[in-house]
């Protein structure tokens, strides 16, 4: 018989309690992985929107925590384009709209100038086309949003209280963008009463593709200074830094971790209870093991390995449930345009390791207590 076999039998001895512990820990891990995973997916997608367009810097008004609240003059694009080191500048207006008749809240509405390179990443489905300069009150709709609204090319959708004709349905690699609507910049400026304004500019820098990361960072820092020197009210922020500062993303991350922390705390208490009870009920048995020659460290190892096995089971189940749950949520109409449906492997690993840490951590005190009782004292207990 192996030591591991002995430990495994101890777990199977109390099947119901072991199962409940695994479930409790699994729920905690599922909460962590799914909430943090969704939040992480949100920021990853947002970042990919910029990365796939080669955006190096985002120019916005200084001090704005949410890019939607403040605008910059659209004409500033020419000034920025003149700055040495700038390869291209693209401005746009962004807002969040809803379609209450279809119970769809929080849809991104973009306003882009006709011919803007920002359209390049949109793949128009057959039967549709891109927006032309004369396409006022006409829109492109992302495929996920089109499905949720049940619209096709030629149909009309309500936008800012007016009817807008769908001229094209597009696919995007990001579900975030596939759940959005695109109108002409001039239309959005009118709808939002922000004449001549954009929310910000996406700037691509003239950095050689084979530049070392340190070189690129240094060149972008210099470019940033030159752009910010144009006007003290603008900030030119690297994409990563910009993503990290976006209010909704920060909020979603904070909410995810706070909620996860609560779930983990509940899971940890459950695990601690299980291990304390498990040791307490077996204290006479532990005394016997010590009496017949088992060292304290072996007793501690036995209890910790039991806890580790329960944690691994809980972590695995939790991760599987989280991935499945996220996938299912991504198909709900209310969330289909916001949740990608995948969970980054690093988030799954984090959740799993947390489960192991909770399991082992929750067993340390009972293991130490049980192993350090004098054998005769342990064997006297009922």
């Amino acid at each position: 018989m192996l030591f591991f076999g002995f430990v495994w039998k101890n777990i199977l001895r109390r099947r119901t309690r072991s199962l409940l512990t695994v479930i409790g820990l699994g729920v905690a891990v599922a909460a962590v992985v799914s909430l943090v995973g969704i939040s992480d997916s949100f920021s990853r997608q947002f970042k990919e929107l910029y990365d796939q367009r080669g955006v190096d810097l985002v120019v916005q008004r200084v001090g704005s925590s949410t890019e939607l609240n403040n605008g910059l003059p659209a004409a500033m694009a020419d000034q920025i384009h003149e700055v040495p080191g700038v390869a291209s500048v693209n401005g746009g207006l962004m807002d969040v709209v809803s379609f209450p008749d279809h119970d769809i809240p929080n849809v991104i509405a973009n306003g882009w100038a006709p011919g803007s390179p920002l359209y390049d990443e949109l793949k128009i489905q057959p039967g549709g086309r891109l927006l032309k300069p004369e396409d006022h009150h006409k829109v492109l709709v992302g495929s996920v949003l089109a499905g949720n609204l049940n619209v096709k090319v030629g149909d009309k959708i309500p936008l800012y209280g007016e009817s807008a004709e769908v001229v094209g349905i597009f696919d995007s690699k990001q579900v975030y963008e596939s759940g959005s609507v695109v109108a002409l910049l001039s239309d959005m400026q009118q709808f939002m009463n922000r004449p001549g304004q954009v929310t910000g500019f996406m700037v691509r820098a003239n950095v050689p593709k084979d530049a070392m990361p340190e070189q690129k960072t240094a060149q972008l820092a210099e470019l940033r200074k030159r752009i910010e020197a144009l006007d003290s009210s603008v900030a030119a922020v690297p994409t990563d830094e910009f993503i990290a500062s976006v209010g909704p993303i920060k909020l979603s991350r904070a909410v995810a971790w706070v909620t996860s922390a609560i779930a983990l705390l509940v899971g940890a208490i459950g695990m601690l209870n299980t291990m304390v009870m498990s040791v307490y009920e077996r204290i006479r048995e532990i005394g016997t093991l010590r009496a017949i020659g088992w060292k304290k460290i072996r007793v501690i190892r036995m209890i910790l390995v039991e806890s580790l096995l329960l944690s691994i089971a809980g972590g695995t189940i939790g991760a599987i449930v989280a991935v499945g749950l996220t996938h299912v949520l991504s198909h709900f109409r209310e969330t289909a345009g916001l949740i990608q449906g995948d969970v980054a492997p690093i988030v799954i690993l984090q959740g799993f390791l947390l489960a192991v840490a909770i399991g082992v951590g929750g067993a340390i005190y009972p293991a130490y207590w049980g192993a350090n009782l004098r054998p005769v004292e342990a064997m006297r207990r009922k």
């Binding site: 093991l289 017949i292 020659g293 060292k295 054998p375 005769v376 004292e377 064997m379």
Partner: protein, 244 residues
Amino acid sequence: MSSTLFDSSQSLLRCERVGRTYTDGEVTALVDVSLEIRRGEYVAIMGPSGSGKSTLLNLLGTLDRPTSGEIYFEDKPLSALRDLDNFRSRKIGFVFQSFYLLPTLTAIENVQIPMFEGSLSAPQRVRRAGELLESVGMSHRTKHLPNQLSVGERQRVAIARALANEAPLLLADEPTGNLDSHSGSDVLDLFDQLHDERGMTLIVITHSLEVAERAERIIWIRDGRVAEEPVNTAPVAHHQRVHR
């Protein structure tokens, strides 16, 4: 009597003015106990309930520590030992009144438990456990759980477990206390066998004179003190019975 297997003049265990007081209840279980057990002896410790005999056994077996005095094993003080667990594993086998077998393990698995602290591989542990169970007449019940064994069989398994690491000393606390007379007799026969054939040193706690008479010597405990030891002629009678 086979005394050629060991040097019976060598001291194995020696107590010098050992005492044990429990501070929570301020109970004094043992007072000023001095005795010596020689290698290869078969000793019974007798006394009424509450006399301190189990306390003495626990101290001799390093399951507890004395509050005064010193216990020597092979002339080395136990208080100086750093690793009592290792010492118990190699030097002492225990047999308890309630057997204390692990309920989720089969007989052969229970016998292997003490061997984890040794150097045997898993297959070697299994082989040795099988041999030990055969030596106590349990080779036909190796895969049974404790609750599938009779009380006598459980105690045999416990004895096999006590022999797992070939310890020179066997401590038994009321080994027949929960057994019927037939099973109890079988267990005592096993003890005789261990003593006669392997030269083991046996210390048996009992309140039964019938059990104590199997031993070469009886140590009487009364009110936590060693009482005057009457001469025990019972072992001669036992061997006469064996050789009849």
